[in-house]
Amino acid sequence: MSRDSAVHAEGLVKHFGDVKALDGIDLTVERGQVVGLLGPNGAGKTTTVRILSTLLKPTAGVAYVAGHDVVKQPDDVRHAIGLTGQYAAVDEYLTGRENLRMFGELYHLSPKYVKERSVELLDWFDLTDAADRPARTYSGGMRRRLDLAASLIAKPSILFLDEPTTGLDPRSRLGMWGVIQSLVDEGTTVLLTTQYLEEADQLAQDIVVIDHGHVIAHGTADVLKDQIGGDRIEIAVTDVSRLARAVELLRPIGTGEAVIDETRILMPVSGGSTVLVDAVRVLDSEGIEVSDIVLRRPTLDDVFLSLTGHVAEEEVAAPAKGRGRGRKEPKA
Protein backbone atom coordinates (compact mmCIF):
# COMPACT_ATOMS: atom_id res chain seq x y z
CA MET A 1 0.00 0.00 0.00
CA SER A 2 2.94 2.29 0.62
CA ARG A 3 3.66 2.43 -3.09
CA ASP A 4 0.13 3.61 -3.86
CA SER A 5 0.67 6.81 -1.94
CA ALA A 6 2.04 9.79 -3.83
CA VAL A 7 4.89 10.05 -1.37
CA HIS A 8 5.91 7.48 1.16
CA ALA A 9 9.07 7.68 3.22
CA GLU A 10 10.18 5.43 6.03
CA GLY A 11 12.98 6.04 8.46
CA LEU A 12 14.80 8.66 6.40
CA VAL A 13 18.19 9.44 7.88
CA LYS A 14 20.67 11.87 6.43
CA HIS A 15 24.05 12.70 7.89
CA PHE A 16 26.26 15.48 6.64
CA GLY A 17 29.54 14.51 8.25
CA ASP A 18 28.79 14.63 11.96
CA VAL A 19 25.58 16.57 11.56
CA LYS A 20 22.42 14.51 11.67
CA ALA A 21 20.12 16.53 9.44
CA LEU A 22 17.44 13.84 9.45
CA ASP A 23 17.11 11.31 12.20
CA GLY A 24 14.38 8.94 11.08
CA ILE A 25 11.59 10.75 9.25
CA ASP A 26 8.39 8.88 8.33
CA LEU A 27 6.08 10.64 5.95
CA THR A 28 3.11 9.73 3.78
CA VAL A 29 1.27 11.93 1.34
CA GLU A 30 -1.81 10.42 -0.28
CA ARG A 31 -2.67 11.29 -3.88
CA GLY A 32 -4.41 14.61 -4.19
CA GLN A 33 -3.49 15.62 -0.67
CA VAL A 34 -1.61 18.71 0.48
CA VAL A 35 0.79 18.05 3.31
CA GLY A 36 2.63 20.81 5.06
CA LEU A 37 6.07 20.11 6.46
CA LEU A 38 6.41 22.59 9.26
CA GLY A 39 9.46 23.42 11.28
CA PRO A 40 12.02 26.06 12.11
CA ASN A 41 15.17 26.74 10.12
CA GLY A 42 17.51 23.77 10.20
CA ALA A 43 14.80 21.31 11.22
CA GLY A 44 15.42 19.17 8.13
CA LYS A 45 12.60 20.33 5.85
CA THR A 46 14.78 21.14 2.86
CA THR A 47 16.84 17.98 3.29
CA THR A 48 13.65 15.92 3.24
CA VAL A 49 12.44 17.57 0.05
CA ARG A 50 15.86 17.14 -1.56
CA ILE A 51 15.85 13.44 -0.84
CA LEU A 52 12.30 13.04 -2.16
CA SER A 53 13.15 14.99 -5.31
CA THR A 54 16.24 12.77 -5.95
CA LEU A 55 18.80 15.54 -5.31
CA LEU A 56 20.28 13.85 -2.26
CA LYS A 57 20.69 10.21 -1.36
CA PRO A 58 19.52 9.27 2.12
CA THR A 59 22.07 7.79 4.52
CA ALA A 60 19.41 5.27 5.53
CA GLY A 61 15.72 4.65 4.98
CA VAL A 62 13.56 4.29 1.88
CA ALA A 63 11.33 6.65 -0.03
CA TYR A 64 8.88 6.14 -2.87
CA VAL A 65 7.54 8.98 -4.94
CA ALA A 66 4.76 8.18 -7.41
CA GLY A 67 5.50 4.53 -6.64
CA HIS A 68 9.16 4.75 -7.66
CA ASP A 69 12.15 4.32 -5.40
CA VAL A 70 13.95 7.67 -5.24
CA VAL A 71 17.37 6.03 -5.09
CA LYS A 72 16.90 3.21 -7.58
CA GLN A 73 14.56 4.83 -10.11
CA PRO A 74 15.40 8.54 -9.97
CA ASP A 75 14.46 9.17 -13.60
CA ASP A 76 10.95 7.79 -13.14
CA VAL A 77 10.54 10.00 -10.09
CA ARG A 78 11.79 13.03 -12.02
CA HIS A 79 9.18 12.50 -14.73
CA ALA A 80 6.42 12.62 -12.13
CA ILE A 81 7.48 15.59 -10.02
CA GLY A 82 7.83 19.34 -10.16
CA LEU A 83 10.19 21.09 -7.75
CA THR A 84 10.23 24.68 -6.67
CA GLY A 85 13.11 25.46 -4.36
CA GLN A 86 13.54 28.19 -1.83
CA TYR A 87 14.87 30.69 -4.32
CA ALA A 88 13.61 31.42 -7.77
CA ALA A 89 15.78 29.12 -9.85
CA VAL A 90 15.21 30.65 -13.24
CA ASP A 91 17.77 31.91 -15.71
CA GLU A 92 18.06 35.67 -15.34
CA TYR A 93 19.16 36.34 -18.88
CA LEU A 94 16.50 34.31 -20.60
CA THR A 95 13.03 35.74 -20.99
CA GLY A 96 10.12 34.18 -19.12
CA ARG A 97 9.04 32.39 -22.27
CA GLU A 98 12.57 31.13 -23.01
CA ASN A 99 12.90 29.81 -19.48
CA LEU A 100 9.70 27.80 -19.81
CA ARG A 101 10.77 26.56 -23.23
CA MET A 102 14.15 25.41 -21.92
CA PHE A 103 12.77 23.54 -18.93
CA GLY A 104 9.96 22.06 -21.02
CA GLU A 105 12.38 20.78 -23.63
CA LEU A 106 14.58 19.31 -20.93
CA TYR A 107 11.55 17.30 -19.76
CA HIS A 108 11.66 15.89 -23.30
CA LEU A 109 8.22 17.15 -24.23
CA SER A 110 7.28 17.93 -27.81
CA PRO A 111 8.10 21.52 -28.90
CA LYS A 112 4.49 22.12 -29.88
CA TYR A 113 3.23 21.11 -26.46
CA VAL A 114 5.87 23.20 -24.70
CA LYS A 115 4.90 26.24 -26.73
CA GLU A 116 1.18 25.94 -26.00
CA ARG A 117 1.71 25.08 -22.38
CA SER A 118 4.04 28.08 -21.94
CA VAL A 119 1.41 30.45 -23.31
CA GLU A 120 -1.13 28.94 -20.96
CA LEU A 121 1.12 29.15 -17.89
CA LEU A 122 2.30 32.68 -18.64
CA ASP A 123 -1.30 33.73 -18.91
CA TRP A 124 -2.32 31.94 -15.75
CA PHE A 125 0.54 33.44 -13.75
CA ASP A 126 -0.14 36.89 -15.09
CA LEU A 127 3.20 37.07 -16.86
CA THR A 128 2.04 37.45 -20.46
CA ASP A 129 3.04 41.11 -20.67
CA ALA A 130 6.49 40.33 -19.28
CA ALA A 131 6.92 37.08 -21.21
CA ASP A 132 9.51 38.42 -23.63
CA ARG A 133 11.58 40.37 -21.13
CA PRO A 134 14.66 38.84 -19.47
CA ALA A 135 13.79 37.45 -16.05
CA ARG A 136 16.33 39.74 -14.36
CA THR A 137 13.91 42.62 -14.97
CA TYR A 138 11.18 40.82 -12.99
CA SER A 139 10.14 41.68 -9.46
CA GLY A 140 10.63 39.10 -6.70
CA GLY A 141 7.00 38.00 -6.88
CA MET A 142 7.13 37.64 -10.67
CA ARG A 143 10.24 35.49 -10.47
CA ARG A 144 8.64 33.19 -7.96
CA ARG A 145 5.61 32.84 -10.21
CA LEU A 146 7.85 32.08 -13.18
CA ASP A 147 9.72 29.59 -11.03
CA LEU A 148 6.49 27.83 -10.10
CA ALA A 149 5.32 27.96 -13.71
CA ALA A 150 8.58 26.25 -14.74
CA SER A 151 7.94 23.40 -12.35
CA LEU A 152 4.44 22.98 -13.80
CA ILE A 153 5.46 22.82 -17.44
CA ALA A 154 5.16 19.02 -17.60
CA LYS A 155 1.94 18.88 -15.55
CA PRO A 156 3.55 16.94 -12.73
CA SER A 157 1.18 14.93 -10.58
CA ILE A 158 3.31 15.65 -7.50
CA LEU A 159 4.67 19.04 -6.63
CA PHE A 160 7.34 19.81 -4.05
CA LEU A 161 7.31 23.39 -2.85
CA ASP A 162 10.19 24.32 -0.58
CA GLU A 163 9.21 27.46 1.29
CA PRO A 164 7.29 28.84 -1.67
CA THR A 165 6.54 32.20 -0.10
CA THR A 166 9.70 32.96 1.89
CA GLY A 167 10.74 36.52 1.20
CA LEU A 168 7.53 37.51 -0.57
CA ASP A 169 5.48 40.52 0.42
CA PRO A 170 2.03 39.79 1.89
CA ARG A 171 0.19 40.50 -1.34
CA SER A 172 2.39 38.17 -3.41
CA ARG A 173 2.08 35.58 -0.69
CA LEU A 174 -1.72 35.63 -0.93
CA GLY A 175 -1.41 35.32 -4.70
CA MET A 176 0.86 32.30 -4.30
CA TRP A 177 -1.59 30.68 -1.91
CA GLY A 178 -4.35 31.14 -4.46
CA VAL A 179 -2.25 29.46 -7.14
CA ILE A 180 -1.35 26.53 -4.90
CA GLN A 181 -4.99 26.13 -3.90
CA SER A 182 -6.15 25.92 -7.50
CA LEU A 183 -3.46 23.35 -8.31
CA VAL A 184 -4.74 21.27 -5.45
CA ASP A 185 -8.32 21.69 -6.65
CA GLU A 186 -7.18 20.17 -9.95
CA GLY A 187 -5.88 17.11 -8.17
CA THR A 188 -2.16 17.85 -7.86
CA THR A 189 -0.50 16.32 -4.83
CA VAL A 190 1.52 18.93 -2.95
CA LEU A 191 4.19 18.60 -0.31
CA LEU A 192 5.11 22.03 0.90
CA THR A 193 7.58 23.12 3.51
CA THR A 194 7.11 26.29 5.44
CA GLN A 195 8.14 28.02 8.58
CA TYR A 196 5.01 30.11 8.49
CA LEU A 197 2.47 28.43 10.70
CA GLU A 198 -0.30 30.43 9.12
CA GLU A 199 0.65 29.07 5.72
CA ALA A 200 0.44 25.45 6.80
CA ASP A 201 -2.87 26.20 8.47
CA GLN A 202 -4.25 27.84 5.31
CA LEU A 203 -3.11 25.34 2.71
CA ALA A 204 -2.44 21.95 4.18
CA GLN A 205 -4.96 19.29 5.15
CA ASP A 206 -2.32 17.41 6.98
CA ILE A 207 0.59 18.88 8.88
CA VAL A 208 3.82 17.19 9.85
CA VAL A 209 5.81 19.12 12.41
CA ILE A 210 9.53 18.40 12.41
CA ASP A 211 12.32 19.65 14.62
CA HIS A 212 15.96 18.53 14.74
CA GLY A 213 15.35 15.88 12.10
CA HIS A 214 12.48 14.21 13.96
CA VAL A 215 8.75 14.20 13.35
CA ILE A 216 7.36 15.62 16.57
CA ALA A 217 3.68 15.82 15.66
CA HIS A 218 1.37 14.89 12.85
CA GLY A 219 -2.28 15.55 12.06
CA THR A 220 -4.73 18.09 10.73
CA ALA A 221 -4.46 21.62 12.01
CA ASP A 222 -7.53 21.02 14.18
CA VAL A 223 -6.19 17.80 15.62
CA LEU A 224 -2.92 19.48 16.49
CA LYS A 225 -4.76 22.32 18.13
CA ASP A 226 -6.98 19.98 20.12
CA GLN A 227 -3.94 17.99 21.13
CA ILE A 228 -2.68 20.88 23.21
CA GLY A 229 -6.17 21.50 24.54
CA GLY A 230 -8.50 24.39 25.20
CA ASP A 231 -8.40 28.06 24.51
CA ARG A 232 -5.66 30.52 25.17
CA ILE A 233 -5.77 33.64 27.23
CA GLU A 234 -3.32 36.36 26.30
CA ILE A 235 -2.68 39.21 28.71
CA ALA A 236 -0.50 42.29 28.54
CA VAL A 237 0.09 44.37 31.66
CA THR A 238 1.02 48.02 31.80
CA ASP A 239 3.90 47.54 34.24
CA VAL A 240 6.21 44.96 32.69
CA SER A 241 8.24 44.62 35.90
CA ARG A 242 5.25 42.91 37.51
CA LEU A 243 4.86 40.22 34.83
CA ALA A 244 6.31 37.50 37.07
CA ARG A 245 3.95 38.31 39.89
CA ALA A 246 1.04 38.39 37.45
CA VAL A 247 1.92 34.87 36.28
CA GLU A 248 1.88 33.66 39.87
CA LEU A 249 -1.55 35.18 40.48
CA LEU A 250 -2.96 33.73 37.27
CA ARG A 251 -1.67 30.20 37.79
CA PRO A 252 -4.77 28.86 39.63
CA ILE A 253 -6.99 29.95 36.71
CA GLY A 254 -5.07 28.16 33.97
CA THR A 255 -5.25 24.55 32.84
CA GLY A 256 -1.57 24.46 31.97
CA GLU A 257 1.72 26.27 32.37
CA ALA A 258 1.72 30.01 31.63
CA VAL A 259 4.56 31.37 29.51
CA ILE A 260 5.88 34.85 29.06
CA ASP A 261 6.36 35.74 25.42
CA GLU A 262 8.28 39.01 25.54
CA THR A 263 5.76 41.32 27.22
CA ARG A 264 2.70 39.11 27.12
CA ILE A 265 1.48 36.25 29.22
CA LEU A 266 0.15 33.26 27.35
CA MET A 267 -1.82 30.59 29.20
CA PRO A 268 -4.14 27.70 28.32
CA VAL A 269 -7.54 27.99 30.00
CA SER A 270 -11.01 26.46 29.87
CA GLY A 271 -14.38 27.86 30.83
CA GLY A 272 -15.04 30.52 28.23
CA SER A 273 -15.41 34.19 28.93
CA THR A 274 -15.77 33.91 32.70
CA VAL A 275 -12.00 33.31 32.90
CA LEU A 276 -11.50 36.79 31.48
CA VAL A 277 -13.38 38.25 34.43
CA ASP A 278 -11.51 36.02 36.88
CA ALA A 279 -8.16 37.03 35.42
CA VAL A 280 -8.85 40.75 35.59
CA ARG A 281 -10.13 40.34 39.14
CA VAL A 282 -7.05 38.53 40.54
CA LEU A 283 -4.71 40.97 38.89
CA ASP A 284 -6.73 43.92 40.10
CA SER A 285 -6.57 42.58 43.68
CA GLU A 286 -2.87 43.51 43.69
CA GLY A 287 -3.29 46.59 41.57
CA ILE A 288 -1.71 45.16 38.40
CA GLU A 289 -3.21 47.08 35.51
CA VAL A 290 -4.18 45.08 32.42
CA SER A 291 -3.52 46.88 29.14
CA ASP A 292 -4.81 44.13 26.86
CA ILE A 293 -6.58 40.83 27.34
CA VAL A 294 -7.92 38.34 24.79
CA LEU A 295 -9.36 34.87 24.75
CA ARG A 296 -8.68 32.89 21.57
CA ARG A 297 -8.47 29.49 19.93
CA PRO A 298 -4.94 28.08 19.91
CA THR A 299 -2.91 28.78 16.77
CA LEU A 300 -0.20 26.62 15.29
CA ASP A 301 2.24 28.94 17.04
CA ASP A 302 0.89 27.64 20.31
CA VAL A 303 1.16 24.10 19.01
CA PHE A 304 4.75 24.65 18.11
CA LEU A 305 5.52 26.28 21.39
CA SER A 306 4.04 23.48 23.44
CA LEU A 307 5.66 20.76 21.31
CA THR A 308 9.17 22.11 21.08
CA GLY A 309 9.39 24.43 24.02
CA HIS A 310 10.45 27.25 21.75
CA VAL A 311 8.68 29.63 19.44
CA ALA A 312 8.94 28.83 15.73
CA GLU A 313 11.79 30.99 14.52
CA GLU A 314 10.52 33.39 11.96
CA GLU A 315 13.23 34.59 9.69
CA VAL A 316 14.52 37.85 11.12
CA ALA A 317 15.77 39.24 7.86
CA ALA A 318 13.93 38.14 4.76
CA PRO A 319 16.54 36.78 2.35
CA ALA A 320 17.52 39.37 -0.19
CA LYS A 321 16.52 37.03 -2.96
CA GLY A 322 14.38 37.66 -5.92
CA ARG A 323 15.88 41.03 -6.68
CA GLY A 324 19.10 41.49 -8.57
CA ARG A 325 21.78 39.01 -7.72
CA GLY A 326 20.62 38.06 -4.28
CA ARG A 327 22.83 35.77 -2.27
CA LYS A 328 21.79 32.75 -0.39
CA GLU A 329 22.93 32.71 3.20
CA PRO A 330 24.20 29.42 4.50
CA LYS A 331 21.60 27.84 6.69
CA ALA A 332 22.17 26.96 10.29
Partner: protein, 282 residues
Protein backbone atom coordinates in the same frame (compact mmCIF):
# COMPACT_ATOMS: atom_id res chain seq x y z
CA UNK B 1 -8.66 30.87 -14.79
CA UNK B 2 -7.42 27.77 -13.08
CA UNK B 3 -8.44 25.33 -15.76
CA UNK B 4 -5.53 24.57 -18.00
CA UNK B 5 -6.72 23.34 -21.34
CA UNK B 6 -3.60 21.90 -22.96
CA UNK B 7 -3.70 18.13 -22.75
CA UNK B 8 -1.11 15.99 -20.99
CA UNK B 9 2.21 15.75 -22.74
CA UNK B 10 3.47 12.78 -24.66
CA UNK B 11 7.07 11.86 -24.04
CA UNK B 12 9.13 11.39 -27.15
CA UNK B 13 11.45 8.45 -27.37
CA UNK B 14 15.04 8.57 -28.49
CA UNK B 15 18.24 6.64 -27.67
CA UNK B 16 20.16 7.78 -24.62
CA UNK B 17 23.06 9.39 -26.52
CA UNK B 18 20.49 11.23 -28.61
CA UNK B 19 19.00 12.78 -25.48
CA UNK B 20 22.43 13.67 -24.17
CA UNK B 21 23.22 15.61 -27.35
CA UNK B 22 19.73 17.12 -27.45
CA UNK B 23 19.91 18.30 -23.83
CA UNK B 24 23.51 19.47 -24.24
CA UNK B 25 22.45 21.56 -27.20
CA UNK B 26 19.58 23.14 -25.22
CA UNK B 27 21.94 24.10 -22.40
CA UNK B 28 24.57 25.41 -24.84
CA UNK B 29 21.93 27.55 -26.52
CA UNK B 30 20.95 28.94 -23.13
CA UNK B 31 24.57 29.82 -22.30
CA UNK B 32 25.14 31.46 -25.68
CA UNK B 33 21.96 33.53 -25.30
CA UNK B 34 23.43 34.81 -22.03
CA UNK B 35 26.48 36.01 -23.98
CA UNK B 36 24.32 38.00 -26.35
CA UNK B 37 22.16 39.43 -23.57
CA UNK B 38 25.13 40.80 -21.62
CA UNK B 39 27.13 42.50 -24.40
CA UNK B 40 29.21 44.47 -21.90
CA UNK B 41 30.59 41.24 -20.46
CA UNK B 42 31.53 40.02 -23.92
CA UNK B 43 33.03 43.41 -24.75
CA UNK B 44 35.31 43.45 -21.72
CA UNK B 45 36.31 39.84 -22.19
CA UNK B 46 37.59 40.97 -25.59
CA UNK B 47 39.25 44.13 -24.31
CA UNK B 48 41.50 42.29 -21.87
CA UNK B 49 43.40 40.18 -24.41
CA UNK B 50 43.63 43.16 -26.75
CA UNK B 51 45.28 45.16 -23.96
CA UNK B 52 47.63 42.23 -23.37
CA UNK B 53 48.66 42.29 -27.02
CA UNK B 54 49.40 46.01 -26.90
CA UNK B 55 51.24 45.82 -23.56
CA UNK B 56 53.44 42.90 -24.50
CA UNK B 57 54.07 44.09 -28.02
CA UNK B 58 55.08 47.61 -27.10
CA UNK B 59 56.24 47.45 -23.46
CA UNK B 60 58.04 44.12 -23.14
CA UNK B 61 58.54 43.46 -26.83
CA UNK B 62 61.84 45.29 -27.18
CA UNK B 63 63.29 43.73 -24.04
CA UNK B 64 62.64 40.06 -24.85
CA UNK B 65 64.96 38.65 -27.51
CA UNK B 66 63.93 35.54 -29.39
CA UNK B 67 66.88 33.18 -29.74
CA UNK B 68 67.79 32.73 -33.37
CA UNK B 69 65.60 35.60 -34.59
CA UNK B 70 67.25 38.85 -35.56
CA UNK B 71 64.30 40.74 -37.05
CA UNK B 72 63.11 43.76 -35.09
CA UNK B 73 59.44 42.70 -35.02
CA UNK B 74 60.25 39.06 -34.23
CA UNK B 75 58.76 39.31 -30.75
CA UNK B 76 55.38 40.48 -32.04
CA UNK B 77 55.29 37.57 -34.46
CA UNK B 78 56.33 35.28 -31.63
CA UNK B 79 53.90 36.80 -29.15
CA UNK B 80 50.57 36.41 -30.95
CA UNK B 81 50.24 32.61 -30.77
CA UNK B 82 51.17 32.91 -27.08
CA UNK B 83 48.38 35.40 -26.52
CA UNK B 84 46.00 33.14 -28.43
CA UNK B 85 46.93 30.25 -26.17
CA UNK B 86 46.68 32.27 -22.97
CA UNK B 87 43.33 33.75 -23.97
CA UNK B 88 41.64 30.49 -24.88
CA UNK B 89 42.91 28.99 -21.61
CA UNK B 90 40.74 31.55 -19.84
CA UNK B 91 37.69 29.89 -21.40
CA UNK B 92 37.94 27.88 -18.19
CA UNK B 93 37.07 30.99 -16.22
CA UNK B 94 33.58 31.30 -17.63
CA UNK B 95 32.92 27.61 -17.05
CA UNK B 96 34.04 27.90 -13.44
CA UNK B 97 32.16 31.08 -12.65
CA UNK B 98 29.09 30.11 -14.68
CA UNK B 99 28.65 26.77 -12.94
CA UNK B 100 29.33 28.24 -9.50
CA UNK B 101 26.59 30.76 -10.23
CA UNK B 102 24.12 28.15 -11.44
CA UNK B 103 24.83 26.06 -8.40
CA UNK B 104 24.48 28.98 -6.03
CA UNK B 105 21.20 30.14 -7.54
CA UNK B 106 19.63 26.69 -7.37
CA UNK B 107 19.47 26.26 -11.14
CA UNK B 108 21.60 23.12 -10.94
CA UNK B 109 19.11 21.76 -8.38
CA UNK B 110 16.34 22.35 -10.87
CA UNK B 111 18.27 20.72 -13.72
CA UNK B 112 19.06 17.75 -11.53
CA UNK B 113 15.40 17.26 -10.64
CA UNK B 114 14.53 17.08 -14.36
CA UNK B 115 14.57 13.78 -16.24
CA UNK B 116 17.38 15.13 -18.43
CA UNK B 117 20.72 13.54 -19.23
CA UNK B 118 23.17 14.27 -16.37
CA UNK B 119 26.25 15.18 -18.46
CA UNK B 120 24.19 17.57 -20.60
CA UNK B 121 24.53 20.64 -18.38
CA UNK B 122 28.31 20.29 -18.44
CA UNK B 123 28.46 19.42 -22.14
CA UNK B 124 26.40 22.49 -22.95
CA UNK B 125 28.44 24.73 -20.70
CA UNK B 126 31.85 23.65 -22.02
CA UNK B 127 30.68 23.69 -25.62
CA UNK B 128 29.28 27.22 -25.28
CA UNK B 129 32.43 28.46 -23.55
CA UNK B 130 34.66 27.02 -26.27
CA UNK B 131 32.39 28.39 -29.00
CA UNK B 132 32.61 31.88 -27.56
CA UNK B 133 36.36 31.71 -28.14
CA UNK B 134 35.79 31.81 -31.90
CA UNK B 135 34.78 35.45 -31.63
CA UNK B 136 37.67 36.16 -29.27
CA UNK B 137 40.12 34.62 -31.74
CA UNK B 138 38.72 36.69 -34.61
CA UNK B 139 39.11 39.93 -32.65
CA UNK B 140 42.61 38.97 -31.47
CA UNK B 141 43.72 38.02 -34.97
CA UNK B 142 42.64 41.41 -36.30
CA UNK B 143 44.47 43.15 -33.44
CA UNK B 144 47.53 41.02 -34.17
CA UNK B 145 47.39 41.97 -37.82
CA UNK B 146 47.35 45.64 -36.85
CA UNK B 147 50.50 45.30 -34.74
CA UNK B 148 52.32 43.43 -37.50
CA UNK B 149 51.52 39.76 -36.93
CA UNK B 150 51.07 37.71 -40.11
CA UNK B 151 49.94 34.22 -41.13
CA UNK B 152 52.91 33.03 -43.21
CA UNK B 153 52.24 29.36 -43.76
CA UNK B 154 49.07 29.10 -45.79
CA UNK B 155 45.38 29.00 -44.99
CA UNK B 156 45.11 25.28 -44.34
CA UNK B 157 47.77 25.31 -41.63
CA UNK B 158 46.22 28.40 -40.09
CA UNK B 159 42.79 26.74 -39.88
CA UNK B 160 44.42 23.72 -38.25
CA UNK B 161 46.07 26.02 -35.70
CA UNK B 162 42.75 27.68 -34.86
CA UNK B 163 41.17 24.23 -34.52
CA UNK B 164 43.84 23.20 -32.03
CA UNK B 165 43.24 26.41 -30.06
CA UNK B 166 39.50 25.65 -29.86
CA UNK B 167 40.19 22.07 -28.83
CA UNK B 168 42.39 23.39 -26.05
CA UNK B 169 39.67 25.88 -25.03
CA UNK B 170 37.23 22.99 -24.80
CA UNK B 171 39.72 21.01 -22.72
CA UNK B 172 40.34 23.72 -20.13
CA UNK B 173 36.59 24.42 -20.03
CA UNK B 174 36.15 20.90 -18.63
CA UNK B 175 38.83 21.52 -16.01
CA UNK B 176 37.09 24.81 -15.21
CA UNK B 177 33.72 23.07 -14.97
CA UNK B 178 35.07 20.57 -12.48
CA UNK B 179 36.59 23.36 -10.38
CA UNK B 180 33.36 25.39 -10.57
CA UNK B 181 31.32 22.57 -9.07
CA UNK B 182 33.42 22.77 -5.91
CA UNK B 183 33.07 26.52 -5.47
CA UNK B 184 30.84 27.64 -2.59
CA UNK B 185 29.79 30.85 -4.36
CA UNK B 186 30.49 32.89 -7.52
CA UNK B 187 32.77 35.35 -5.71
CA UNK B 188 35.13 32.59 -4.62
CA UNK B 189 34.93 31.10 -8.09
CA UNK B 190 36.04 34.42 -9.54
CA UNK B 191 39.22 34.48 -7.45
CA UNK B 192 40.24 31.15 -5.94
CA UNK B 193 38.70 29.19 -8.80
CA UNK B 194 40.94 30.83 -11.38
CA UNK B 195 44.29 30.78 -9.59
CA UNK B 196 45.58 27.69 -11.39
CA UNK B 197 45.29 29.48 -14.72
CA UNK B 198 48.15 31.85 -13.92
CA UNK B 199 50.93 29.30 -13.45
CA UNK B 200 49.44 27.31 -16.33
CA UNK B 201 49.71 30.21 -18.75
CA UNK B 202 52.84 31.95 -17.42
CA UNK B 203 54.97 28.84 -16.81
CA UNK B 204 54.98 28.18 -20.52
CA UNK B 205 56.36 29.55 -23.75
CA UNK B 206 53.37 31.90 -24.19
CA UNK B 207 55.33 35.08 -23.57
CA UNK B 208 59.00 34.12 -23.23
CA UNK B 209 61.23 31.41 -24.68
CA UNK B 210 61.62 28.71 -22.03
CA UNK B 211 65.35 28.26 -22.62
CA UNK B 212 65.97 30.86 -19.95
CA UNK B 213 63.92 29.09 -17.25
CA UNK B 214 65.81 27.31 -14.42
CA UNK B 215 65.73 23.47 -14.17
CA UNK B 216 62.42 22.35 -12.68
CA UNK B 217 60.48 25.24 -14.10
CA UNK B 218 61.83 24.50 -17.55
CA UNK B 219 60.75 20.87 -17.27
CA UNK B 220 57.28 21.96 -16.11
CA UNK B 221 56.99 24.50 -18.93
CA UNK B 222 58.13 21.96 -21.51
CA UNK B 223 55.54 19.40 -20.43
CA UNK B 224 52.84 22.04 -19.95
CA UNK B 225 50.25 21.28 -22.67
CA UNK B 226 49.85 24.95 -23.43
CA UNK B 227 53.53 25.14 -24.49
CA UNK B 228 52.99 22.40 -27.05
CA UNK B 229 49.82 24.12 -28.23
CA UNK B 230 51.52 27.49 -28.64
CA UNK B 231 54.55 25.96 -30.33
CA UNK B 232 52.27 24.12 -32.75
CA UNK B 233 50.49 27.36 -33.54
CA UNK B 234 53.76 29.21 -34.14
CA UNK B 235 54.82 26.53 -36.58
CA UNK B 236 51.43 26.35 -38.30
CA UNK B 237 51.14 30.13 -38.64
CA UNK B 238 54.77 30.30 -39.81
CA UNK B 239 55.82 32.55 -36.93
CA UNK B 240 59.21 32.47 -35.19
CA UNK B 241 59.48 29.64 -32.65
CA UNK B 242 62.82 30.36 -31.04
CA UNK B 243 65.07 27.40 -30.28
CA UNK B 244 63.45 24.55 -28.35
CA UNK B 245 65.13 22.82 -25.43
CA UNK B 246 65.29 19.05 -25.77
CA UNK B 247 61.97 17.65 -24.50
CA UNK B 248 59.71 15.10 -26.16
CA UNK B 249 56.53 17.26 -26.16
CA UNK B 250 58.38 20.05 -27.95
CA UNK B 251 59.61 17.71 -30.66
CA UNK B 252 56.09 16.34 -31.21
CA UNK B 253 54.09 19.39 -30.33
CA UNK B 254 50.94 18.67 -32.35
CA UNK B 255 50.79 15.06 -31.30
CA UNK B 256 51.36 16.02 -27.66
CA UNK B 257 48.66 18.70 -27.87
CA UNK B 258 46.13 16.19 -29.20
CA UNK B 259 47.15 13.54 -26.71
CA UNK B 260 47.09 15.79 -23.66
CA UNK B 261 43.73 17.32 -24.65
CA UNK B 262 42.20 13.88 -25.10
CA UNK B 263 43.50 12.61 -21.78
CA UNK B 264 42.50 15.77 -19.90
CA UNK B 265 38.98 15.83 -21.36
CA UNK B 266 38.46 12.17 -20.49
CA UNK B 267 39.74 12.71 -16.96
CA UNK B 268 38.02 15.96 -16.10
CA UNK B 269 34.75 15.12 -17.84
CA UNK B 270 34.55 11.98 -15.73
CA UNK B 271 35.37 13.84 -12.53
CA UNK B 272 33.05 16.74 -13.31
CA UNK B 273 30.06 14.57 -14.22
CA UNK B 274 30.55 12.55 -11.07
CA UNK B 275 30.69 15.68 -9.00
CA UNK B 276 27.66 17.11 -10.79
CA UNK B 277 25.43 14.20 -9.89
CA UNK B 278 26.13 14.93 -6.21
CA UNK B 279 26.26 18.71 -6.22
CA UNK B 280 23.53 20.66 -4.51
CA UNK B 281 23.24 24.31 -3.78
CA UNK B 282 24.30 24.15 -0.17
Amino acid sequence: MSTLAVSRPQLRSRPLWGWTLNDGFIVARRNLIQTVRVPELLFFSLVQPVIFVLLFAYVFGGAIPIPGEAAADAYRQYLMPGIFGQTVAFAAASSTVGLAEDLHKGIIDRFRALPMSPPAVLLGRTFADATRQILVLVVLSITGYLVGWRINNGLFNAIWAYALLLLFAYTVAWVGAWVGLYMPNPETANTAGLIWLFPLTFLSNCFVPINSLPGVLQTFAAWNPISALVLSCRELFGNPTGIQPDYWPLHHSELYTLLSCTVLIALFATLAVRRYTRATSR
